[in-house]
Each structure stands twice: as C-alpha cells, then as structure tokens.
Symmetry: C2
Subunit: 336 residues, 2 copies
C-alpha cells in the first residue's frame, strides 16, 4: 500500500476528531464526515476530505454553526421550508430529508426548500439513500457563479448540480451531475500541474477563450452541452431561488470561502413510486443498456453510478487515496 492510501476507519476517526476539536458535537461530526468520506470513497476528491479544513475554519470563525439542525416550518402539508441557520450542510439536509421522506409516504410527495445552509457535499448520496429506501428523489442545489451563459463572457450562473435517485433492483439508479462542462476544481488542478485546458472549456477574465488554466481561474467555465446545458443550469438557478428565496448569480457566496455565510439554496423533491414499484423493471432496463452493443468493444456501455460503485468497492479494500498535504492538515486539526 503506497503512502497515499489511508485506511478508511483511521481516516474517518481522524476527521471526526478534527471536527470535534472545533466544537462540532459527535453526532454531527459523524454525519459531516460520512458525506465527505463517501465522496472520497467514490473517487470524487473535490467533494471529499479536501473540504474538511475549510469546514473547520468556518466553524472556528463562527460562520458555520455546528449545533443547529435548522429551523423547520411546514408551508403546506407537503412543503417544508428550512432555514438552515448556517448549520452544517449534511446535518441540515438529513434532518429535512427525514421529515419529507416520512411525509411523502402519507401524501405521495413532499418537498424541502432549504436556505442559509452550508455546502451539502456530493448530492448523489442523498439520492442513493432515499432511492435505496424505495422513494424517488430529485435534488438541486445552487453555487457561486462560475459558469458563463452560452454566447456570453462572464460568470453569471452556478455549476448547479442535479441528482436523481430512482429505486431499482439490485442497486438504486443514481444520477449526479453538475451543469458545467468541467469543475473549477479541475481548472485549479490543471493550473497546478501546468497542463493546458481543452478548447471550449473556459474563458479568461476578459471573456476570451483560453487554454491557460491559470488565466481561467480568474475567468469562467463553460456550461455542459452548449445552449441546452446553459438553459438547464439557468433553469435550476431560478427554480431553486424562486422556491427557497436564496441568492442568484454573482450574489451567491459561502460555499467556497471561509468569510461569508452561505446564501445559496437547496431543493429536495421526494415522490412515492407507482403502486407495486417498478424497481425490477427499471433494473432490467438498465441491464439491457449495459449489455447493449458498445461503440468500442473494450468499453462496455455504462449506466450513471457504475463507475462510482466500482471505485467505492476498490477504496474500501485498498483504502482511500488522498493528497499528502490534505491528510497532513487534517491530522494537525485532529491533534490540536
């Protein structure tokens, strides 16, 4: 095992201690670490343990509140409004999900609109848990403006990911994707390594196309899928803002920095599947897609989540791969 691979249990314990040292109650620390760890296990380092030092910093500076579970207010029998009171993202989110998954069993559907809540982490995980319990989840969340409009020059729209979880046998179907072509994390990574970007990925601070990752850090990234992806990301931005009364565009702050309260919005929609459920049929359909003839014989057709699923199994066996400097700073936070 290389020095970059850390045993999962050890990493988890260290992270929980780091949060505990900052005043996060044990139960909340476990929920927060669980979210980061599951992203790390699935190979999504950008949403993994890398984020822990920033969370600790926000808690220490009093910007994030490690105690609150949010203020819940039913705006109707099926619509829960949540003021997150700057609580930890996964703590607020799971608290809200508990309420609406229960309510949806009764009413058929329930929605949570969440504002003033810290970063939720990888939203696939919420979709997976809800779908594994037999319900459909649509999750949307907004972010700082990093994406330029199609045909535009400046960052005006968040990377606005969507996750969709649908019960399926044997594993739930889980989609989780940003509406940007690449992530700003990737741009930073390319800049760090001095590797040029690909054409069409990003603009510089003047709004001109650039392959220089360092220049792109001050600029903006492209929406995925051209005009359609732009339209979709924008739709999520206004839908979430309309429902949660959260900020839009360049007004959004607090998911990437350690200075600002978080004013983006999050939306969860939980729906009961058809009577009897279609989990078996959905599973069979997904398998038919996997077995369908591939474009290249050595690359079988994949279904969303397949890669993450395999990576998770590998990580549990081998340990998680983590950048040495990230691991060092987490260990320092755990012992200080």
């Amino acid at each position: 095992m290389s020095e970059h691979f850390i045993n999962v249990d050890e990493a988890r314990r260290t992270c929980v201690e780091a949060l505990g040292n900052a005043g996060v109650p044990l139960e909340h620390a476990r929920v927060q670490v669980d979210l980061l760890m599951e992203a790390q296990l699935r190979g999504r380092a950008s949403h993994g343990l890398l984020r822990l030092p920033r969370i600790v910093e926000r808690v220490r500076r009093g910007i994030a509140d490690p105690i609150t579970r949010g203020e819940l207010c039913w705006r109707g029998n099926s619509l829960l409004h949540v003021n997150g009171r700057q609580g930890l993202g996964p703590v607020i989110a799971f608290h809200a999900l508990e309420q609406i998954t229960l309510r949806a069993k009764e009413t058929g559907v329930a929605v949570a609109s969440i504002e003033q809540c810290n970063h939720l982490g990888m939203i696939a995980l919420y979709a997976e848990r809800v779908a594994a319990q037999g319900q459909i989840l649509i999750a949307m969340t907004t972010s700082e403006a990093l994406v330029h409009p199609w045909g535009g020059r400046t960052a005006m729209i968040g990377t606005n990911p969507v996750a969709i979880g649908v019960p399926a046998a044997p594993h739930p179907f889980v989609l989780d994707m940003a509406t940007s072509l690449i992530s700003m994390g990737q741009v930073h990574d390319y800049a760090h390594r001095g590797t040029p970007l690909e054409t069409g990925w990003a603009l510089d601070a003047n709004g001109d196309p650039t392959l220089d990752a360092t220049a792109a850090k001050q600029g903006s990234i492209a929406p995925f899928g051209g005009a359609k992806g732009y339209a979709l990301g924008l739709a999520f931005e206004v839908l979430v803002a309309s429902l949660t009364a959260s900020a839009m565009g360049v007004e959004v702050k607090g998911t990437l920095d350690a200075e600002h309260p978080c004013n983006k919005g999050d939306v969860f929609i939980v729906i009961e599947p058809a009577a009897g459920g279609a989990a078996t049929q959905v599973g069979a359909y997904l398998d038919a897609i996997r077995r369908s003839p591939p474009q290249r014989a050595d690359r079988p057709v994949l279904v969303p989540g397949d890669r993450a699923h395999r990576q998770r199994a590998r990580s549990l066996e081998d340990g998680i791969s983590i950048a040495p400097d990230v691991w060092r700073s987490i260990r320092e936070l755990a012992i200080s």
Copy 2:
C-alpha cells in the same frame, strides 16, 4: 403575404373543424388545436399543425379516445395518478393540471403521474401557463427509443424532454428541451432535402457514425451534451417509468404512429414559490444575463424562451408559415 402564410384564426377554425369531423367534441378540439397552434406560432413546426392528420387518424381508428378526460385517482393528498384511457394528450394533461395546481395551493406541492395518454405536444406551454399563474412547474415526458446510450450503438432511450416554468416579471421563465442532440424530425428533414448531417449527430442501423440522413432514419440519434446528457435523459426515462408505471426503452410506442396505444408516461410537478415570491428578482437576474457582454457583439446573450417569444409575436402579425402539403391535408380533413 406569401401563399405559405396562413391567417391564424383561419388556421385555427380549419383545424377545429378537422377534429370535429372525426368526432372530437368542440371543447376538446379547441384544447388540442390550441396546443398545436401555439407550437406553430413559436416556430416549433415539429410540434405544430403537422401533427393534426396523425391525431385525426388515431381518433378515426379508435386508438385515441376523443371523449375521455382520463381516470383520476389521488394516491395521497399530493399525488394524483391519471390513467389517460388513450385520451387526447392536452385534454388529459390540462385536466390533471387543473387538479394539481389547485391542490398545490393548499399543500405547497402536488404531482400528477400520467399513463396511457396521447402525445402532450410542446410541453413548454404547460410550463408557461402554470408559471404565469404564479407556480413552478417541472414537466417530464418519455417517448419512443430514438437515442443511443453514450458509447452505445442502438436506440435505447427516448428523446425525453423536460420543461421548467418559473414565475418571473414581466414574463415567466420557460425552459423546454429534449435530451437528444437533434430531433428525429430534423433527421427526416435533412433526408428530405438531401443535406448531410453534422459529425456526431447520428448512427446508422449498424450503430456506426453516419452523415447520411437517410441512413440515420433507420439508426439512432445522439444524446445532447455527451455522457452527461445521456445520463440525464436516462434518469428521466426511469424516473417517469417508476412513477407512472409506463413502458421504458424500446417498449415505448404510440406517440409517432397510428397503430399503437400510447404507453409512455408524463409527470407534472407543481410547487408554490417562496412566500412573497421572487418573480421580480428572477426577472431582474434574467435581464442582467441578457445585458451581460456577449461573445460576439452582434449576438446578444439570450435567455430560454426569448426566441420563441419573438417568433410568436411575428407569427401573430404575419400569419403562420406552414408546408403547403400539410395545409392541404388539414383542409381536406376539415371539409370531408
């Protein structure tokens, strides 16, 4: 005015007569024609009057039922299941929407899951009407398998459009997009004109890339936005099927032919915006995007719906542009 431009009122009257001759009650004929006409007015010919002769044929052959408004059954206080009983798409859809928009005012959110219903037409229109009345709508619908999986060779997934309507001042925000890169209608159009397709648009019957539109008619079309667009279209396919117990993939039939009952599914999600609404803020944000510096000085940044909006105003003034053979066959149906 060229001979291809038809006065809107005249076209509407003729279409209603054509449906009336086939036994469609006047009120239902008006609803159906309204949907087709609004698509035509917005320049979306593929969802316009072109579809009328096929609808008449389905009614005449007893495949579509022009009388029913569907069988409605609340599966919970906020979840309405609709068996469309092979009724006309817009008739069933508006009936369901009436119920759930009212219910959402009370409960905050309501969903309709619709099965056994004919083609809804351009789903932007439902989103626009709901958003103009101050509620959020998410609409999804599945279709015949025409799209190949990313890295696959055969059509396994519908073109699965999504529409999102959000209240905004002065006009609601309306997104409506298929999850395919192009439409099969465009492929037919290219084949008709003998124009080659662009790279990456389609595969032939063997699953090999082709620029020959005639070969592509027997093959499949690409998802928009590569792997992400594929994942999204697939997510809509399984979400809709899971909720409506409708067919998936190659089992889906009846939106393009005159032989099969329609077994795809439709989902409407209606949600109340935040108290006080954010229509003014959303409108201001959309305007900021329109005013943001464009990539090319002669092409201002657009917001979804802008083009359709302008085209509609032009069509109302100039009349609608319609292919002479389509108009001829509609007139024949109106007098026969």
